[in-house]
């Protein structure tokens, strides 16, 4: 074999030089795009924190809202909204989680391929329905005739959560190695015992992650709650879901429309609390996801 002509390496030609510049240019564009995404989050958090964090005080979290505040009078707090959101989102999770997990178990462990694709498509479409449409739907279904209630709000949020929970559970269940199912079935263990005893425990971490992400997603939903649990809200903390309940996003929406500076300040503070709650739950979900993925990798 004759030695190759290496001189080409020493004197880069024009085409090579041009390519290098195009490469640098595209890298820069991609970097800028990524930086924009990060910067957007940073700006939102910073602007909410700047206006909201200073207004944060114990009264906000413990005292009920003052129905008709006057300038210089007692400002009260927003405990009714925080309690309301807690109750509404909590019940929504209780509704959506079991149904979502059962959907995922059926789709992943039992359904034939045609049904699997059909249900997957349905979940995607459901996920794409605007929240306000779901609000109107629940309004027509439950609120008309029964009036506003926390339960109606929970149901609306549960409809939003269901595709999120089911989708993420399907993905996690698909990661459980088939060899484990075979091992169990090979012992003569029925399918349902295999699913409950071997498959589900492996996927629990991932399912919880999906549920936490769904909670973070719907905790800030405003539109469905406007239709379902916004009329005739009581001023004090109310844990009864059959009553119409206040919620953080709807309260922010209403306060921002008021005249008093102090009410705007409260809206910013509530927005800050909501944002922090969502950031913390998202990070928790990420942490849980990493943990359960490591567990699955050890099993595979």
């Amino acid at each position: 074999m004759s030695s190759a002509d290496l001189s080409v390496l020493q004197r880069p030609n024009d085409r090579l030089r041009r390519r290098r510049w195009v490469n640098r240019g595209m890298e820069l564009l991609a970097w800028l795009a990524a930086a924009t995404a990060v910067a957007l989050l940073g700006i939102v958090v910073w602007s909410v924190a700047k206006r909201g964090a200073s207004e944060l005080n114990l009264d906000l979290l413990t005292k009920p809202q003052v129905a008709f505040p006057v300038p210089g009078g007692p400002q009260g707090g927003l405990v009714n909204a925080f309690v309301g959101t807690l109750v509404i989102v909590g019940i929504a999770t209780l509704m959506a989680l079991p149904v979502g997990v059962l959907v995922a178990l059926y789709v992943n462990e039992f359904a034939p391929a045609v049904v699997r694709r059909g249900v997957g498509l349905t979940l995607d479409v459901l996920n794409g329905i605007p929240a306000i449409v779901i609000g109107i739907f629940v309004f027509g279904l439950i609120v008309v005739g029964h009036g506003d209630s926390g339960l109606a709000g929970s149901f609306a949020l549960a409809v939003l959560m269901l595709p999120l929970v089911a989708r993420s559970a399907i993905e996690v269940l698909a990661l459980v190695p088939g060899s484990l199912r075979e091992a169990s079935l090979g012992l003569g263990v029925p399918r349902w015992r295999t699913t409950l005893g071997i498959v589900l425990p492996q996927a629990v971490g991932g399912i919880v992650t999906g549920a936490v992400l769904a909670v973070a997603r719907v905790a800030g939903e405003t539109a469905p709650l406007l239709f379902t649990t916004a009329v005739g809200v009581s001023a004090g903390a109310d844990w009864n879901p059959t009553h119409p309940l206040a919620s953080v996003p709807v309260t922010i929406f209403e306060l921002s429309d008021q005249a008093l500076e102090s009410q705007h300040a409260q809206a910013w503070a509530a927005a800050f609390v909501l944002l922090m709650f969502i950031l913390v739950t998202s990070l928790t979900a990420r942490w849980l996801a990493n943990r359960s993925r490591r567990k699955l990798q050890r099993a595979a």
């Binding site: 060899s179 091992a183 090979g186 012992l187 003569g188 015992r193 005893g197």
Partner: protein
């Protein structure tokens, strides 16, 4: 150059024969008609989608023997033994024709419950697949689910002892099975399979992912356990078949006129006969290393 290769082949095949001769010093088999049948397979054809993986297999499997299934990759060995415990049912496009009689009863029919079949016909898989549970629970879980809850810890100990694993794990039964070595995990899978007291244990290349020492341990196990169980073992390792099996079935790939390929049973006989005096040319080519 060619002469060198041929010489290597000849010496390789004579080494195999030596290995066979050394290892086949065992009890001579009684005549086949005096052996008790476990499986009576008639004209078994296995089809995935529209492609036949296996055509027209007819053979018997006998009680308390180790039956090896050998052959080149893609000849349908795994498909074949997965028919015995209805594991192929898990593949949506799978279909089979022909009959498999297990102690006289057809287990291939639609009306037979595959769960009940797998209950008496256990399986050990190619890659060790312990549950992500403790060592003890790996063996005990099946027992609990299948209602064999009396003397649970004795049953676990007996199974682990039979699988030659007890001494290595008795001090850490509560620790995770995933911390065991590959060979230990596979023996744990064997313990898990025999703990539920099956009648037959199917093994799908149980040692292919293991080192030689672990492989030896598992082969030793087969020798010791065959008085209690019947084994059907798929292997692509001919020496392994020669070492452990009483009966050997050789499968090969046949090609049709339009290029379609399927697996076929070529020859089934006592292991010693298959390896020293095969009656089919294809078997001879395979066991002497001229093909595959």
């Amino acid at each position: 150059m060619m002469g060198q290769v041929r010489g290597d082949l000849v010496s390789a095949s004579s080494t195999i024969e030596q290995a066979v001769r050394v290892e086949t010093k065992r009890q001579p088999l009684p005549p086949r008609e005096r052996l008790e049948q476990v499986f009576d397979i008639q004209d078994l054809t296995a089809i995935y989608g529209s492609k036949a993986a296996l055509k027209g297999v007819t053979m018997d499997v006998y009680k308390n023997l180790v039956t090896a299934v050998i052959g080149p990759s893609g000849c349908g060995k795994s498909t074949f033994i997965r028919c015995f415990n209805r594991m192929n049912d898990l593949v949506p496009s799978f279909r089979q024709t022909g009959t498999i009689r297990y102690h006289g009863q057809d287990i291939a029919g639609k009306d037979v419950d595959p769960v009940a079949v797998r209950r008496t016909i256990g399986m050990v898989f190619q890659r060790p697949n312990p549950f992500p549970k403790s060592i003890q629970d790996n063996v005990a879980w099946g027992l609990k689910v299948l209602g064999m809850k009396d003397n649970l810890s004795e049953r676990v100990e007996r199974a682990l002892t039979q699988a030659a694993l007890w001494d290595e794990v008795k001090d850490r039964l509560k620790s995770s099975a995933l911390g065991l070595s590959g060979g230990q995990q596979q023996r744990l899978c064997i313990a898990r399979a025999i703990a539920v007291e099956p009648d037959v244990v199917l093994m799908d290349e149980p040692a292919s992912a293991l080192d030689p020492i672990a492989t030896q341990a598992i082969e030793q196990l087969l020798h010791e356990l065959k008085s209690e169980y019947s084994f059907v073992i798929v292997t692509h390792n001919m020496q392994q078949a020669a070492r452990v099996a009483d009966m050997t079935a050789f499968f090969s790939i046949s090609r049709g006129a339009e290029g379609e390929r399927w697996g076929e049973l070529i020859e089934y006989d006592a292991t010693e006969k298959i390896f020293t005096a095969p009656s089919d040319k294809r078997t001879e080519d395979y066991v002497t290393g001229r093909f595959g």
